[in-house]
Symmetry: C2
Subunit: 375 residues, 2 copies
């Protein structure tokens, strides 16, 4: 059983997406790919799974109220793996979601041992500023720090703690449960449900875009959402709890530049969005590709774009046109396109993106201020 | 092991105080009995045990800053069992303690299923109003509801959750730990330590007067208090945590009127402080005494004041003079004083007390308002 459990506190590695979905009851995202093809990650199958996405799809298309909720862990450089999540947040904001973004400054302090003030600084300078440079605005946005939580939130979190047994938590999170993990799990559930509290807009569909390793939190939260019934009609504190089970989407993680996991703690595995373009270029030039041992071999057998970190950068971030991407893929497969030229092409696109993005970061200050002022 | 564990969520029955103290490392209160003989419960050995009381004794005598912290569970009528705790709170307030009283309205809602508004009403009309009628004032008093907790408190409580393992909690609370109990235990510890947070007055000796069944919370809290070291000198959020291990006192519970446990859920077991004096008198007249089967036998063998609920009322609440009490005791033992006359005497004192107290309750409104206004 342990092998089949997802660890939301682990390193985020998922061996086989299709299998995990079978084992955990996550559904494929395929049926929504065409309907929301204006989202690059959806269109290209990077958003691979979902729970209850039907009510989100309906809310988007019929312009009904719904919420998007996500958190960020301010613990390092904002890199292209984070950009994927940011792009999704921004897409939902454009699709009229009430947008909730929580900066987990407390979690960064207690779990990752980052001083609170530094965690707040990272949240603003790395995460929020990059979000804004990527397109996040103050429209329908609730951005807050965990340490700014307000009383109705805490009251609610305490009530959640009475709604789940330790055995249920062990069933979801494994036997190596700790006191800290229990608090963290209940906190995650409260985070996800709280946009539906009366104080924050009331019951409505809520989508949480996550990596598949975060599914245990989604399952716990969905369990919770059915466990509140009004016991005291006269009592606001309990009768106000009415939830629509949250929906979720699951995306494939980007790989690290050397083919392993992309990790904030290993700068050689990622490119930061504040990276000096020269350094970024060098990182691309030394990234793992799907190329063969020699150019001759490559021209004969063709490359393996599925195992290429450079191609992955193009798919996730740098090439918007599907037609162009298909040509690159075909060129690689046929052996006509070799790694050296492909890397240079990627580095060119990346450099252009970074320069433009870093200019936008400078212009982001005003919007960042507005967002922080409104929290 | 299980038989030797104290259950803070149980019914509060303690079979043998001396044994428990040996098993759990609680020390006798004897050496402080004479020093604080102006406290009836201390003088008469009702406050029987303590941990680290030395620093409280010193703070009281040398008029140094210290705090007294206690909570109340607003779930029923305020009776003479509660009065014992109230009298102690008031005594510490008079002895210059910074006095912290927390009304556990949230706990009453989530654990005892009492609507939040009703719990708040009980806290004010039963507990706080009786406290004031018994002598509590607004001086150096912080009275608050759990649902009014402020952010620094919650931030701190979350940090506590990372400082204790599940196995440690099981060691203290037993294997039948639940998610709710874990939250409750961490909450109790945060309650007890929070007067020492920078926002609430900083590190100083703190005494928590409790029944012996609450000792697990004290032990957990004392463990916590040593687990904070400043990891980041520059970081206010962690460096501000510096605690003096809290001290505690343990009192003997009053027995119920029929000799069993005094319980809020059984009105025949207690006399409420708002009880109609006529009803109260009847309850005394039918209380269990230490009398013999017949008056003849009683005159011959003498009574057993140790097993007498009427004598207990006199000891705990109604007779201030030790000399008078000693005479009553001797009279009973010798067989000269029979139960009928003793009950009548007790009923008379009780009626006088209740009439006076209920008059004071009417005058309490203004102080209650001041206290609630200042929270």
């Amino acid at each position: 059983m342990t092998g089949k459990r997802l660890d939301p506190w682990g390193k985020g590695g998922i061996e086989n997406y299709e299998n995990l979905f079978k084992e955990f009851g996550i559904e494929s995202f395929d049926k929504y790919r065409q309907r929301f093809s204006n989202n690059r990650y959806i269109r290209r199958g990077i958003v691979i799974g979902q729970r209850d996405y039907g009510r989100i799809a309906e809310a988007i298309e019929k312009k009904k109220p719904y919420a998007m909720m996500t958190g960020l862990m301010p613990s390092g450089k904002f890199h292209f793996g984070h950009k994927m999540v940011a792009d999704q947040i921004i897409w939902y904001q454009k699709m009229n979601a009430d947008t909730f973004v929580c900066a987990a400054d407390l979690e960064a302090t207690v779990v990752r041992d980052i001083p609170l003030q530094e965690a707040r600084k990272i949240a603003i300078e790395e995460y929020l500023t990059n979000y804004v440079a990527l397109g996040l605005t103050e429209k329908n946005l609730t951005f807050w720090f965990q340490t700014d939580y307000v009383v109705p939130y805490y009251r609610f979190r305490d009530q959640l703690s009475k709604k789940v047994t330790l055995n249920e938590l062990k069933g979801i999170y494994g036997d190596d449960l700790t006191t800290g993990k229990i608090f963290s799990a209940i906190t995650q559930a409260a985070d996800i449900l709280h946009p539906q509290l009366a104080e924050f807009g009331g019951p409505r569909p809520t989508v949480v875009p996550v990596g598949a390793d975060q599914d245990p939190h989604i399952r716990l939260t969905r369990d919770f959402s059915g466990r509140f019934v009004s016991r005291h009609a006269a009592d606001a504190a309990s009768s106000e709890y009415k939830f629509i089970p949250p929906s979720s989407t699951y995306h494939k993680f980007m790989s690290g530049l050397s083919g392993g996991k992309m990790s904030s703690s290993d700068p050689s595995s990622y490119i930061a969005l504040t990276e000096d373009p020269k350094t970024a270029e060098k990182k691309v030039m030394s990234a793992k590709t799907g190329g063969r041992a020699t150019v001759t071999e490559q021209k004969e057998l063709g490359g393996v774009p599925e195992d290429c970190m450079v191609y992955e950068m193009l798919v996730y971030h740098l090439v918007e046109s599907d037609k162009e991407l298909a040509e690159i893929y075909a060129g690689c497969k046929s052996g006509g396109r070799v790694c050296g030229e492909c890397k240079k092409y990627c580095a060119g696109l990346l450099t252009a993106f970074l320069k433009e993005h870093q200019k936008k970061r400078k212009d982001a200050a005003k919007t960042v201020e507005k967002i922080l002022g409104e929290r």
